[in-house]
Amino acid sequence: MLRYALKRLLSLVVSLIVASIVIFAVIEVIPGDPAALILGVNARPDTLAALRTEMGLDQPLPLRYADWVWGMLRGDFGTSITYKTPVAEMVADRIWVSLPLAIYALCLSTLIAFPAGIYAAARRGRAGDLGVMGATQLGVAVPNFWFAMILVLIFAINLRWFPSGGFPGWDEGFWKAMKALTLPAIALALPQAAILARVMRSSLLDMLDEDFIRTARAKGLSRRQALWRHAVRNALIPVLTIIGLQFAFLLAGGIIIEQVFFLPGLGRLIFQAISARDLIVVESVVMLLVFVVIVVNFAVDLAYAAVDPRLRTGR
């Protein structure tokens, strides 16, 4: 078990290093000099040079990379060019919107998908299965931002149950904040739930065809007992992979939903930073998102080992 975890940890560190190099390199090749962008087209060459020095743009590349990474390791993400505030502070403010939203949506998605997938698999080919599969087929096809607009139209504009946008902040009270996040979370979760339910169902059906299910039935387990005691845990293995991928998607996929609901999250921050060519912000937020994704995948790998003894014990 420990060996497996260490191996995964090593690959996590390697992934992070490679990812940071890629992000740094991409930002470097972007056409357009950030210094020139700040000062505008009429800037005098000597002011430009002075700003470039101030921003460290005249340093050699490896040095700047090292500076950037070292900074991030200490929690120093640099200073935003456009807002003149530390990036770390901007990120800290917004991650408390994006992260809860992603977790909220993931919980919703899992809570809907597991029962739906298991229900459909248990009734393979019957009306209940066809109903669930039809609904998921539709769910997969719905763009989440459009679904968000429809939710706003119904539940915010017509019924007035939820606010149509904005975020009051956690200081205003937990329930108020959760209420503001509810429609966005539903909009994000439902299409993902549809995908997850389909994966859960097909994975379960694969397991139900396995020999060990027949063995269990020969022991005297009913179909339902065999499904719950033997198929579900084995079926979780591919489902976990999808949950890991979905978390990454939900975290970043918030960008568009955050636009729809005017939520001050990481997505909106990065979107604004890109339009303003605020590369330090872009670089840091992308790195942060990738970091979270890689860590989540590491957690998924550990979850595999918890589910599957073949990974934790050698022969």
Partner: protein, 271 residues
């Protein structure tokens, strides 16, 4: 032939047909504005109503279908053209450094939030349909690479591949002659799924203004325009949204039906 395949094909054909007809004819000209006639609900003259500039929504949906299909199809093309050879190559050299590099590269792309990178690419190189295609296409590469590798690996274990090796055929030749034809079904099915995901991605990108630029019509931008109007003219949001839903639904049904028809044991990735 499975029923889902039939329904899916009809839906898909409907949109492809609309896109094709828009090349030579649309009910109204979408480049001329008709402000007095704005935000009209569906009527005899404008079957699906008009938008905030009085343009005919049906005509815009038809032209938008063209943009969606072109972007998604080319993005799938990029993914297949690069992903499949990489996957076959990795499988042929299973366990080698090359295989490891290709697969780790794939994992790396998966680790990047796709939408963020798509936004980054279009933001850096400018918002345009071509950049949207590239941005979506890049994320199709690892999907096809992974799938073709796993398909190829299971074939490499089979005795008929061993027989070909005993006949002295090179790995390249075996991949081309024996492996590729046998994973083609899988790739086609996955292709339709990626096509539908491409439609969704294109809509998302143009919704935030990073897809095809005006005057090219696009479903995503129609939705962006409709956002502030949804309370007074719901049809401006409903129509393009439903167009996306039905197009994606059609492709997915077609893909699933095709899989059941060709080989029910094929596994596709959908994430």
């Amino acid at each position: 032939m499975p029923r889902s395949f039939l329904i899916g094909t009809v839906l898909t054909a409907l949109f492809v047909g609309m896109a094709a007809i828009s090349l030579i004819w649309t009910p109204h000209d979408i480049e001329s504005l008709d402000i007095p006639n704005k935000l009209k609900p569906p009527s005899g003259a404008n079957w699906l109503g008009t938008d905030q500039f009085g343009r005919d929504i049906l005509s815009m949906i038809m032209e938008g279908a063209r943009t969606s299909i072109a972007v998604a199809l080319l993005a799938v093309g990029i993914g297949m053209a690069l992903g499949v050879p990489l996957g076959l190559w990795a499988a042929a050299r299973k366990g080698s450094l090359l295989d490891e590099l290709i697969m780790r590269g794939n994992d790396l792309i998966f680790a990047f939030p796709s939408l963020v990178i798509a936004i980054l690419i279009t933001a850096i190189f400018g918002a345009s349909a071509v950049n949207a295609i590239i941005a979506i296409g890049i994320f199709n590469i690892p999907v096809f690479a992974r799938l073709s590798r796993s398909g190829a690996l299971s074939l490499w274990e089979r005795d008929f591949i061993l027989a070909a090796r005993v006949s002295g055929k090179s790995a390249f030749r075996i991949s081309w002659e024996h492996i590729l034809p046998n994973i083609l079904n899988l790739m086609i099915v996955q292709g339709t799924i990626q096509f539908s995901l491409g439609i969704l991605a294109e809509a998302a990108l143009s919704y935030i203004g990073l897809g095809a630029q005006p005057p090219t019509a696009s479903w995503g931008r129609m939705l962006a325009d409709a956002q502030t109007l949804v309370a007074i003219a719901p049809h401006t949001a409903l129509v393009p949204g439903l167009a996306i839903v039905f197009m994606v639904l059609g492709l997915n049904l077609m893909g699933d039906g095709l899989r059941d028809w060709l080989d029910p044991r094929l596994r596709v990735e959908r994430a």
